[in-house]
């Protein structure tokens, strides 16, 4: 077993912390026990499938097209997740798909076009996963916040419309707020890098025996790519989402119900 490998026994033992989480949930009547068990089981099944798939896709003999196909699959899954988390927003699947696809194209194009990482299945799939995973989160936050603003700040938005402002102008203060809230956590993460926490990729590389300085370089490159990608996704989502909230004649639409569906 190589340095940093986790044995099956080690994996099972790590579940002892999950048992603590279940016990705490039961003790405090949080009713999260079932959710925790399902989440753990899903993580095992999903990641095992991913491991098998990745082994095939990133094998040196496999054409790179399969890796790009994998990336397309991630984008589709991200759009479906955004859609599930903010059902009340009209056209949310298209928004999620367009925002994440745009971000993936720009971020991966720059990353591999500029040679930050060599373009191989071994780099493409994990980098795309991290970029789109973070972009998806910011997309969800922006869409949920925008839809909530329509409910909570309807009077203020309509007061602006009544003054002859366009829909996009009327909602601009709330778009800014949603963008700040979606991007700020990542800026905090970047600021706290190495002090408060050691990020996942770097930790994984160090555990796998890579020199810490090399691991830091990889991590920094990834964080910068992700920061740009999140800002891009949030902006694209806000732009498209804000448009969907108004009719062609600049009336604010009424959303069916709360957007925090999942």
């Amino acid at each position: 077993m190589a340095e940093g490998d986790v044995s099956a026994v080690g994996l099972v033992l790590s579940l002892s912390l999950v048992v603590i989480a279940i016990a705490l949930s039961a003790r405090e009547s949080l009713r999260l026990e079932r959710d925790i068990v399902v989440a753990v089981l899903r993580s095992v099944v999903q990641l095992l499938i991913v491991a098998v798939g990745l082994t095939l896709v990133i094998d040196e003999g496999t054409p790179l097209a399969w890796s790009w196909l994998w990336v397309a699959g991630i984008v589709l899954f991200a759009a479906a997740t955004v859609s599930r988390r903010a059902r009340a927003m009209p056209g949310v699947f298209v928004i999620g798909l367009a925002a994440n696809a745009t971000t993936a194209s720009v971020a991966l194009g720059l990353t591999f076009g500029l040679g930050v990482f060599p373009l191989e299945g071994r780099t493409l799939v994990p980098v795309a996963g991290m970029v789109i995973g973070n972009s998806m989160k910011s997309c969800v936050v922006v869409v949920q916040l925008l839809a909530e603003q329509v409910a909570d700040k309807r009077e203020e938005i309509e007061a602006r419309l009544a003054l002859g402002l366009t829909g996009s102008s009327a909602i601009r203060p709330f778009v800014r707020q949603a963008l700040r809230l979606s991007i700020s956590p990542l800026i905090e993460n970047v600021r706290a890098l190495g002090i408060v926490f050691l990020p996942g990729a770097m930790t994984g590389l160090i555990l796998a025996g890579v020199d810490p300085l090399d691991a830091v370089f990889v991590q920094l490159a990834l964080m910068y790519i992700i920061l740009g990608a999140v800002a891009l996704t949030a902006s694209a989502t806000a732009l498209m989402g804000a448009r969907r909230l108004f009719t062609a004649d600049h009336r604010l639409i009424r959303l069916a119900r709360s957007t925090r569906d999942a």
């Binding site: 007061a159 003054l163 600049h250 009336r251």
Partner: protein
């Protein structure tokens, strides 16, 4: 013959359970203060919102000066048909910031003039909008609505959250605006307020028009009363 200010022709506006407006037809003339009265949920605010296109009817036509309002540029239409809402809705920033949302190029002199039209002295210009009282806030909203130089002013129960004295002041301002050539369409459910300020009243119930009354001598009566508004009762 001069076309009506607003003319509703068989207008139906959908609602959650029943139509908010149900096959409504009536006219509002281009002068004075026209009140729209009725119980809560009758469709008064919906009528007003159709006037400045915050709502679009499912069927029927809303005409503005004889022209189909739906065929007009919605942004230009809203600047011409200004609206003051039930509760003062103030934006973040100072009073000047609020007025410049409506008129981004407004000079300090213009801001002062708009405040005076709403019975506020120019010292309010630099005040934080969030720190204003309800009455002051509503008058800032009026000044902000006037910043678009509207041809008509829609007011949706603008005095419902104000004390008697401030409400009286706002009523006097409505009369002044109407006398100065800016007709006012006022949603209210207060009969006393109608008697004080309105020249006519359109009565609404359950999304239908139940009557239109021209109040003989309404304006003169209102002028007399608004000079002494502090002694009048108010239920608007």
């Amino acid at each position: 013959m001069t076309p009506a200010l607003f003319s509703f022709e068989r207008v139906t506006l959908d609602g959650d359970e029943r139509p908010r407006l149900d096959d409504v037809s009536f006219e509002v003339p281009d002068r004075g203060v026209s009140a729209i009265a009725g119980p809560s949920g009758a469709g008064k605010s919906s009528l007003l919102r159709c006037c400045n296109r915050l709502e679009a009817p499912r069927s029927g036509i809303v005409r503005y000066h004889g022209e189909d309002a739906a065929a007009r540029d919605p942004l230009a239409h809203r600047r011409e048909v200004a609206m003051v809402f039930q509760r003062p809705v103030l934006f973040a920033g100072t009073v000047t910031d609020n007025l410049r949302v409506a008129d981004p190029g407004a000079s300090d002199e213009r801001i002062a003039a708009l405040l005076r039209r709403a019975a506020l002295d120019e010292g309010f210009a630099a005040r934080d909008a969030a720190a204003l009282s309800g009455g002051e806030g509503q008058r800032v909203c009026l000044a902000r609505a006037l910043a678009t130089d509207p041809h008509v002013l829609l007011m949706d129960e603008p005095t419902s959250s104000l004390d008697e004295e401030t409400a009286g002041m706002l009523e006097a301002l409505m009369r002044d605006l109407a006398a100065g050539g800016v007709p006012v369409v006022l949603v209210t459910h207060g009969e006393d307020q109608i008697a004080r300020v309105a020249d006519r009243v359109v009565r609404v119930d359950r999304g239908r028009i139940t009557g239109v009354e021209e109040l003989a001598g309404g304006a003169a009566r209102a002028r007399r009363r608004t000079t002494d508004h502090g002694s009048e009762g108010r239920d608007g």
